[in-house]
Structure formats: C-alpha cells, structure tokens
C-alpha cells in the first residue's frame, strides 16, 4: 500500500495502463484515507468505488479530488458556505466533465475558504483545514482542502481555483505544486463564481508532471463560457533537464526582501543559485506598479464578488430564513448564511461600486490593472519567466492572522499581480524553512504554460524536494 501511495498520479495511470495496478484497488486506498482524514480537508467523500473505471482513457480511472465550489451533478457543491449547505447541482462544471471524459474518477469534494475568499482556509463554513506538515498551522487558502489532501496523500491530485493566489499559496504552504493557468484557457462554467475576470481553475499536484497532465485535459474552449478560449498549444509533459539559454527575471519591487521571512528568502536564493547552475541567467527586472497590485485587487475582486453573490437570496437554492416579507427574507438569509470575510468583501465591493465612489475606487483600480498588465508584458519581452517566493512566509499558526484582515491579504502580495494580468504562474516546493515548505513562483507570458512547465520541471529535478513527511502515518 505504501508503494502505491508513493506513486504520482501519472505513475499510477501508467501502472494501470501496464496492467500492474488495479484502478479499483487504487480508488479504495485513497477512498479509505479520505474517509479517515483528520485534517478537515474533505467536505464529501464518495461512498464507494464506481462500477467501472475508464482505463482506456488517458487518465485511466485515477481518482481526483475536486474543490467544493465546482458544481458536480447530484453531489454536494457548497463553495465552503453555509448559504449553500446541502446544495446538489443539476449539472457538472465543464472542466470536471472534461476530466471525467479523460478518465478521472471523482473521489470527493474538498474544503475551502467560503466562496474562495481567504488565504488560510479558516473562513470555511465547514471548519478549518489543518496543515499536514504541522497540524497547529493553516494549509493556506482558498484551495486549502485540495492542497492538504494532496500533501497528506488522501488524494493523488486535486482541482482548485485561483483568483489572487488561491492555488499557488496553499500549494506553497503544503509543499506541493500548484498551477494557475492563463486566464481563459479553462472554462469557468459550473464554477461557483467569486470574481469572474480573475477566477481560473487549475491543478494541485505532487509534482510538475502531474500538473501538466491534469492541465492538458482541463484546458479547452467552451460554448457555455464566452471567455473560455482554450489553449493554442497541446500541453506537453515536461522533460527539460537544463535551463541553458533561459532568462529569468527577479522583480526588484517584489523580491526586495522587505516583509519576507528570512527562511523563505534563503530558500528562494538557493533556487536562484540552482537555476544558474542549470544554465539560466538571472537578472533584475522592474515592475514599478506591482506593489500596488494588492490595493487594486482588493477593489476589483470585492466589486465583482458583491455582484456575483447577489444571487444568494434564498429564492432558488440554499438557505432561506423565513420572514413575512421579501426584503427581510433576503437580508436575514444573507446575514445568517454568509461568514465574516464574505460580508466584508460584499461591503467593500458595494461601497467601491456605489454612486460617488465608483471612479475613485473601481475606475482607478481598473486603470492600475492596465499598468500592471503592460509592465508584465514588457518584462516578458526580455525574460522567459519571472521568479519570486510564492508567499512571504511559511504556513502560519491557526488563528494568528484571523483578527487582522489586512495582514491576511498581504499573503497574496506576490501572487496577485499575475492574476490581474491573467498570465500563468506555477508554485513548486523549493525547500524547507523551520521544517515547513517554501514555495517558488515561476510566472510567464500569457499562454506560455509549456515553457513554464519545462522551467519548473528542470528546477524540480534539481531541487529534489521530498514531500513524503506530510504523507507519513497510517491515516492522514
């Protein structure tokens, strides 16, 4: 069993293809571990193995964890919110459907910050998730359940979503790989929306090869999402061992060291040294507006959220607090159903969009977004990728930042600029600081996933990060 747990998803698929591994046995092992999970990573686990596995399809029946906010037909899809408790959608999200068609099997749904708003998974309506490296610490968020499940070995791989860092930051804090693809390459149809111009689905996996394999089968245009343009290239499996001729940029405004924990900075600098040994050149680049990205983000994302979350009104699905009149039913349902962080963001967004404030907040934030996208595009004319730490710190103690929303938001300092520009970025584990994983973010131009995955793969081989300590023990 231990040997099976040590297989990556791609290795498990290959073993099934060779006839060396029974997909039912694989599913059973993971199902048992997910059902016994003590980290709070799961909100629903499949009762039993499916009747049949599609072993002829490329993913060979390998089980998949899916973040709660993806609609899955007949299966609870609650987006981490009490306002959607027990909701079982009548349809399945396009990207989940694509993966099922490619042979993936739904293992269960994973816990998350409510409506993907948070960086610690403490905002879930269904309880926090614990970090498998240290159970007194958070796994990051908002895809915290997906990251913890993959790190702890209760899922071979998982789907998440990233709006401002919600795949990359939990991947970093849990010592796994997380890819936020180019905006628009994966359909958002069936993803319960937070901020439509930023939300993007992506893989959380044990290694870069698994991320490439899962992403390959997620990407694609979709008639049901007008912004889903697909990917112009076939996503390959990475194989680069060297980085000769690759130009990496370190943004001086982001990686200046201020606010970065010393252990994170040390691991980041070791990664740069390795990149040079592998043949890359590393140079300083400038993104003058990037340090304002977070400010713009905390206007744009809440503005879109306040509009998207208007649909939770007690009429068509989810919670209803009974009242004698319609307005009271709305206001009481939303009062009882939403958690604190969601309420904060609805209020900020409504304020930023309200008459008299629109130009000063939303209008300006959209212009800042233009500057950031232009600056990144200009840098990608010169370098193949930019590198930063994924998060300024390692996993923090549960409760240590929940009283200060702004301190929590600063977790996204390095990840938000790429989200605003819609460009792809991957986080890979690059070492430990005080026994906790550190993530390295590698970001590239729009649609450059293949090159990004190759760079990440070469670094991964050289770094030789060992994620097995988080999978230790008989049950996760």
């Amino acid at each position: 069993m231990t040997a099976i747990l040590d297989l990556t998803a791609a290795q498990a698929a290959a073993a099934i293809e060779r006839g060396d591994l029974d997909p039912g046995e694989l599913f059973g092992i993971y199902r048992e571990r997910a059902a016994a999970d003590e980290l709070g990573a799961w909100t629903w686990v499949a009762d039993a193995a499916p009747v049949a596995f599609d072993v002829g399809a490329p993913l060979r029946g390998v089980p998949l964890a899916v973040k709660d906010l993806f609609c899955t037909e007949g299966v609870p899809s609650q987006a981490g919110s009490r306002i959607l408790e027990g909701y079982r959608p009548p349809y399945t999200a396009t990207c989940v459907e694509r993966l099922q068609t490619a042979g993936a099997t739904l293992l269960g749904k994973t816990n998350q910050d409510e409506f993907a708003m948070g960086s610690s998974n403490e905002n879930s309506g269904f309880g926090p998730v614990l970090n498998p490296w240290d159970r007194s610490r958070v796994p990051g968020g908002s895809s915290g359940g997906s990251a913890a499940a993959v790190a702890a070995g209760s899922a071979p791989w998982a789907l998440g979503t990233d709006t401002g860092g919600s795949i990359r930051q939990p991947a970093a804090l849990c010592g796994i790989v997380g890819l936020k693809p180019t905006y628009g390459t994966v359909s958002r149809f069936g993803m319960i929306a937070f901020a439509c111009s930023l939300d993007q689905a992506g893989p959380l996996t044990r290694d870069v090869t698994d991320a490439a394999l899962l992403y390959r089968h997620m990407a694609g245009a979709d008639a049901r999402d007008a912004t889903a343009v697909g990917h112009p290239d076939e996503i390959g499996l990475p194989s680069a061992e060297r980085l000769d001729g690759v130009r990496l940029g370190v943004p001086v405004e982001l990686a200046g060291g201020e606010g970065i924990e010393p252990g994170v900075l040390a691991a980041f600098e070791r990664s740069l040294a390795l990149a040079r040994e592998l043949g890359a050149t590393v140079e300083e680049v400038s993104l003058p507006t990037a340090d304002r990205a977070l400010s713009a983000y905390y206007v744009i994302a809440p503005a879109e959220c306040s509009s998207n979350l208007a649909r939770f009104d007690g009429v068509r699905y989810g919670l209803r607090v009974e009242a004698d009149d319609l307005l009271t039913m709305y206001t009481e349902t939303r009062h009882d159903g939403f958690g604190d962080e969601v309420k904060r963001r609805i209020l900020i967004g409504t304020y930023a969009l309200s008459s008299g404030y629109y130009d000063a907040y939303y209008g300006r934030a959209q212009r800042v977004r233009t500057l950031i996208a232009r600056e990144l595009a200009a840098v990608f004319e010169r370098v193949d990728a930019i590198v930063t730490p994924t998060s300024p710190g390692v996993a923090f103690e549960l409760g240590s930042k929940s009283a200060d929303p702004l301190a929590m938001y600063l977790n996204d300092f390095f990840t938000v600029p790429m989200s605003l520009a819609g460009v792809p970025a991957i986080s890979i584990p690059c070492g430990l600081a005080d026994g906790l994983p550190v993530g390295l973010q590698v970001a590239g131009a729009a649609f450059s996933e293949n090159r990004l995955l190759d760079i990440a793969y070469a670094l991964e081989q050289g770094l030789g990060f060992d994620g097995s300590p988080a999978r230790g023990g008989a049950t996760p």
């Binding site: 919670l319 309420k343 500057l371 819609g422």
Partner: protein
C-alpha cells in the same frame, strides 16, 4: 473615511442585515482596508485606459435554435419553496 452610517447604507444596498456588533467591527476593518486600497490614488493614471478583462474575446452569437436545457423539475429541485411550477417567495409588501 468610511463611517458607521456608510457601512449600514452599503449593507442595505447589498441586502445584508448587520447586527450592531457587526456594524461596529466592520466599520473599523473596512476603514483599514480602504486606507490600504487608497494607495492607488497616488499613481498617475492620466491617459491609462481601464482593463475590465484580460482576454480579448469577440462575442459570438450562437444560432437561435432550440436545444436541450435544464428541465423545470431540475431547476426547481433545490428551491426552498415552490408552487405551481415556480419559485415561491414571501410578499414584497413589507408587514
């Protein structure tokens, strides 16, 4: 600077009741967040166009022909209350 009345006004616009304790706490938290956000006020943005969306998408119209869609039963199945094949809500007339 946002004050308690602003917060309650915005909450009404957002159809969200806040308890007194929530309104007090949110006023302080929102003021701190907005102070951070207002750093974008320092930038020179003259002549910079806004970006609403990063992907240049041409809106295409689909052919106007009937196709499969959710059944009425499926659409109503998760509703808290239904009647005569529709969603049932309390009266919009207060009290």
């Amino acid at each position: 600077m946002i004050d308690r009345d602003d917060v309650l006004h915005v909450a009404r616009l957002a159809r969200l009741r806040l308890s007194d304790a929530e309104a007090d706490r949110m006023t302080g938290e929102l003021a701190k967040i907005l102070e951070h956000v207002e750093r974008i006020g320092e930038l020179d943005l003259d002549g910079v166009p806004p970006t609403a969306h990063v992907v240049a998408v041409e809106h295409e119209l689909r052919p106007d022909v009937p196709g499969p869609c959710l059944s009425r039963e499926a659409a109503l199945a998760q509703a808290p209350a239904t009647q005569d094949g529709g969603f049932l809500v309390p009266s919009p007339q207060a009290g």
